[in-house]
């Protein structure tokens, strides 16, 4: 019993588009950050599906590196969010319109 590769790619496209939608319509800076993680996950799914299809391990290695970068990005990004919240007392991105801390 098998599943067509296009099913996986379609699911990946839907998840990525939902991540982009959340990135656009959300106003809370933490939720925007989470939607970036959702997009990364969608890309990971298509990487693993292609890896399984082409019998290439490189796809899974790429997913590993994407996860490492996502972890580093989450640590730094959440630190930036904490610094912004300390100076602005808000998490709304509409109020955070200057790069200056």
């Amino acid at each position: 019993m098998t599943v067509p590769l296009s099913y996986y790619l379609t699911l990946s496209a839907i998840l990525f588009a939902l991540g982009v939608l959340a990135f656009i319509i959300k106003r809370n800076i933490i939720t925007i950050f989470m939607s970036i993680e959702l997009m990364l996950n969608a890309v990971n799914l298509s990487f693993v599906a292609f890896a399984a299809h082409w019998k290439q391990l490189s796809g899974q290695i790429f997913v590993f590196f994407v996860m490492v970068v996502a972890a580093a990005e989450a640590a730094v990004g959440l630190a930036i969010i904490i610094a912004v919240f300390r100076t602005r007392d808000t998490l709304n991105v509409d109020d955070v319109n200057l790069l200056k801390l």
Partner: protein
């Protein structure tokens, strides 16, 4: 069986992602993102990527999402308020979502001859032994570079989140109320020098 599992967990992932968009409180969004990541881990298992599935649960659903939830609770984030900009974003975002999803599906699935083939699911492709061998032989240099990246990220996070104490005030102007108080003190003690001394103490306080 595999198709059924794919449909169940794929639908769960999409429903949770929709919930992430629909919820207004960040903690609800975070918990639905955890569900998305868990169901993606099941899909990785279906594709035979056991190592990636384990990492997905441990690193993504475990470490990263705990960090997110920790920050949400630390900052006591409430519900997001609606602004005028968010309605515009909604009006642009939802058609944009449909266009983007359609374009991605067409370009990934329809025009791709490989996509018509079927994935031999659960064929134990890419066991952790093979992944480790590839990681430490073929991809050794990128692996070491990521360790430096993580080191830099740790230092950057500590540096950014460090608490900067505000500078203590050096000098402070007297306001009229305080001046009146000082005059009173001067009156009770009778001498100007004593009053000045008191005034200094007051200001310091």
């Amino acid at each position: 069986m595999h198709l059924a599992l794919f449909l169940i967990f794929g639908a769960l992932a999409v429903a949770s992602a929709v919930n992430l968009v629909a919820q207004r409180h960040p903690i609800n969004s975070a918990l639905s993102l955890v569900v998305v990541m868990g169901s993606l881990a099941v899909l990785y298992l279906l594709l035979g990527a056991e190592f990636v599935a384990a990492i997905q649960v441990i690193v993504y659903a475990g470490a990263i999402m705990v960090l997110f939830i920790f920050v949400i609770m630390l900052l006591n984030a409430g519900e997001e308020e609606r602004t005028r900009g968010s309605r515009v974003a909604m009006a642009v975002g939802i058609p944009g979502l449909i266009v983007l999803a359609g374009a991605l599906m067409v370009s990934l699935s329809e025009r791709n001859p490989a996509a018509r083939d079927r994935v031999p699911v659960g064929a134990m492709f890419g066991p952790p032994v093979e992944v480790g061998r590839a990681l430490f032989r073929q991809f050794l240099l990128p692996f070491e570079v990521t360790s430096i990246l993580i080191l830099i990220a740790i230092m950057g996070a500590v540096l950014l989140a460090r608490y900067h104490a505000p500078h203590p005030p050096v000098a402070r102007a007297l306001d009229p109320d305080e001046a009146a108080e000082l005059l009173e003190i001067a009156g009770t003690h009778g001498s100007a020098t004593g009053a000045r001394e008191r005034a200094r103490q007051e200001v310091r306080r």
